[in-house]
């Protein structure tokens, strides 16, 4: 009798000590995670919670905030053609950027991916725009594309391709100019992704294809592209998400103008919060801007999910 009680107590003691040790272990993990976790909760999570609350308010930072329920969302969906113009511009921008940039990046990667030589220097040069400030470089491009004093027009006139200077930042051409700058900044990044994909394909595949007498085109469509499939999917997703969120260089280059022709979603949101003379409103609209940003994030989310679904479907087909 005495013995059993003792052993029972001992067992309880064991689990208690064990539990205590485990709790201490967990505490130690959290202590090491804490500096990062606190920054993450403060800088990444808190503003989102703030926005999810303020999207139900009218608030300009001066007068008291006023709860208006879904009023902001009603406004986005029924009374804000400018935002939907920006959404349309974003789709146009993202679509064209991807359509031109990715094939260019792919071809560049193919040419550099020489089995004998790696062309490290060329790779480093083409990747280099990635490390430069897009705002500063957008300013440089702004000078280059200047109508009368810019070097681009001077060059084109000198070699005789054009007679009259092109208004690169005018209504007709602004989107093209924005795209040229975007491709300049993004190409190297995606070229490196493609190179990574290409280098995962074993050279033996090509060697045996050579033995079979396959042509370069056959090798491309039968080996390179199919084997690049999974990498291509990731690249497409990354480029899609990134292109939808681009705004810095557009902001410096055109400010979204002229006449909103290059205004994109996230730039529109910026202008709700920090209105400049180029924006339509002069008082910041923190509540409305929060609602718009949630709609924009939802649009990007829906596109991403749709893209993942479609690429899964395509997997089943192949």
């Amino acid at each position: 009798m005495v013995f059993t009680i003792q052993s029972k107590n001992k067992a309880v003691g064991m689990t208690l000590a064990h539990r205590k040790a485990r709790r201490r272990d967990t505490a130690r993990s959290y202590a090491m995670l804490a500096p990062n976790l606190i920054l993450f909760l403060l800088i990444s999570v808190y503003p989102v919670i703030w926005a999810l609350q303020y999207m139900f308010y009218r608030y300009d930072g001066m007068s008291a905030k006023k709860f208006i329920g879904l009023g902001n969302f009603v406004r986005v969906f029924t009374r804000d053609p400018q935002f939907w113009q920006a959404v349309l511009n974003t789709f146009k921008y993202a679509g064209l950027k991807i359509v031109f940039m990715l094939p260019l990046a792919f071809v560049t990667a193919l040419l550099i991916n020489n089995t004998k030589r790696r062309y490290a220097a060329i790779q480093a040069v083409i990747f280099s725009p990635t490390i430069m400030s897009s705002a500063v470089m957008a300013l440089v491009f702004y000078l280059l594309f200047n109508v009368y004093s810019g070097e681009i027009n001077k060059l084109l006139i000198n070699i005789g391709w054009i007679v009259k200077p092109i208004n690169w930042l005018g209504r007709e051409m602004a989107m093209t100019t924005v795209l040229i700058v975007a491709i300049w900044g993004g190409l190297g990044n995606y070229m490196v992704y493609f190179l990574a994909g290409l280098q995962q394909i074993s050279p033996e595949m090509y060697e045996s294809a050579d033995l079979d007498g396959a042509s370069a085109l056959t090798k491309m469509f039968r080996i390179t592209i199919p084997l690049l499939g999974p990498v291509l999917k990731v690249i497409l997703m990354l480029s899609l998400i990134n292109a939808f969120q681009d705004m810095t260089s557009i902001m410096v280059l055109t400010g979204g103008g002229p006449f909103n022709s290059t205004n994109v979603m996230y730039l529109y949101i910026y202008n709700q919060y920090y209105p400049s003379s180029e924006a339509s409103s002069f008082l910041p609209q923190y509540g409305y801007g929060a609602a718009v940003s949630v709609v924009a994030a939802a649009i990007v989310g829906v596109i991403t999910i749709a893209y993942i679904q479609i690429s899964k479907k395509l997997d089943d087909v192949y």
Binding site: M32, N36, I269, G301, T304
Partner: protein, 282 residues
């Protein structure tokens, strides 16, 4: 046979035309900025020449004195330095915890980090932080800006996590059994092994802080003294005599570009390999 060789010659020629065009397209704006920063405004707007006719080194003197670029360079250095330090310390420890430790809530926290990598509310998020930090009287210093730029570091954390997972467990587990605390294991065993990925984290966070435009733009509203280089350079575009000051704009742009370009010349391998190890995880 002869035709075959000719075809290959044409192919090689096309390849080099393509690559050289691309290289010219990539480098031209940078060279324009660097060389243009040494021209007079008159020569710049006249255009037509790549190299300056008269080398005007005093543009830089102008930028530093009249344009206060000394102060902005200092600000940029301080912010980028602080962000790098914070990123290095916090993301290396978090990466270790995610890679090696088992604890309650880990899965949830990791998926939260993952989710926030892809969700973006844009510049909305900086406003509540600005309000919060100004209540804490931190917006008068560069600390607030640096904290906002450091942020959650999700991508750097996962970079470190992935790297530590690829290092064999046995060594640090043995140290753990010998009675070391997790922190001691991290300092003694892990840190020396992950130096190469920490160099990547350092480069990435320095670059992104040095180049960031939107965050410092918003965080220095009403406080021009704290502006970083990027903000100061772009603001020249909106100044009243912008048309007469192209040379100062380009000198400012060059001051912002040259440090990262020099850094890149020595570290381009780390930049590219770092990008890849991040991409493989994604």
């Amino acid at each position: 046979m002869n035709k075959d060789r000719m075809m290959r010659g044409v192919g090689a020629a096309l390849k080099w035309v393509f690559l050289l065009t691309l290289i010219a397209f990539t480098l031209y704006p940078v060279i324009y900025a660097l060389l243009g920063s040494l021209k007079s405004n008159y020569e710049l707007t006249l255009g037509g020449h790549l190299f300056p006719e008269v080398w005007k080194f005093e543009n830089y003197m102008d930028a530093f004195t009249r344009g206060r670029f000394g102060l902005y360079t200092f600000n940029s250095l301080m912010v980028a330095g602080l962000v790098s330090l914070l990123s290095l310390v916090t993301s290396s420890m978090a990466g270790y915890v995610f890679a090696r430790r088992q604890f309650r809530g880990k899965g949830f926290i990791m998926s939260l980090y993952m989710a926030f990598m892809f969700i973006s509310l844009g510049s909305v998020t900086i406003y509540p932080l600005f309000v919060l930090f100004s209540r804490m009287k931190l917006t008068k210093t560069i600390i607030a800006m640096a904290l906002v730029m450091t942020g959650g570091q999700a991508s750097n954390v996962f970079l470190v996590t992935g790297f530590i997972k690829s290092v064999p467990k046995e060594l640090d587990e043995a140290a753990f059994i010998d009675g070391c605390t997790p922190f001691q294991v991290f300092i003694i065993m892990i840190l020396p092994m992950i130096r190469s990925i920490l160099a990547v984290v350092l480069l990435f966070s320095f670059r992104s802080a040095w180049n960031d435009y939107i965050t410092p733009l918003i965080m220095t509203i009403g406080n021009a003294k704290l502006r970083t280089l990027t903000v100061a350079v772009v603001q020249l575009k909106y100044s009243s005599n912008a048309a007469a000051e192209w040379q100062i704009m380009l000198a400012g742009a060059s001051i912002a570009l040259i440090p990262v370009l020099i850094l890149y010349i020595f570290t381009h391998k780390q930049f590219i390999s770092g990008l890849l190890s991040g991409a493989v995880k994604a």
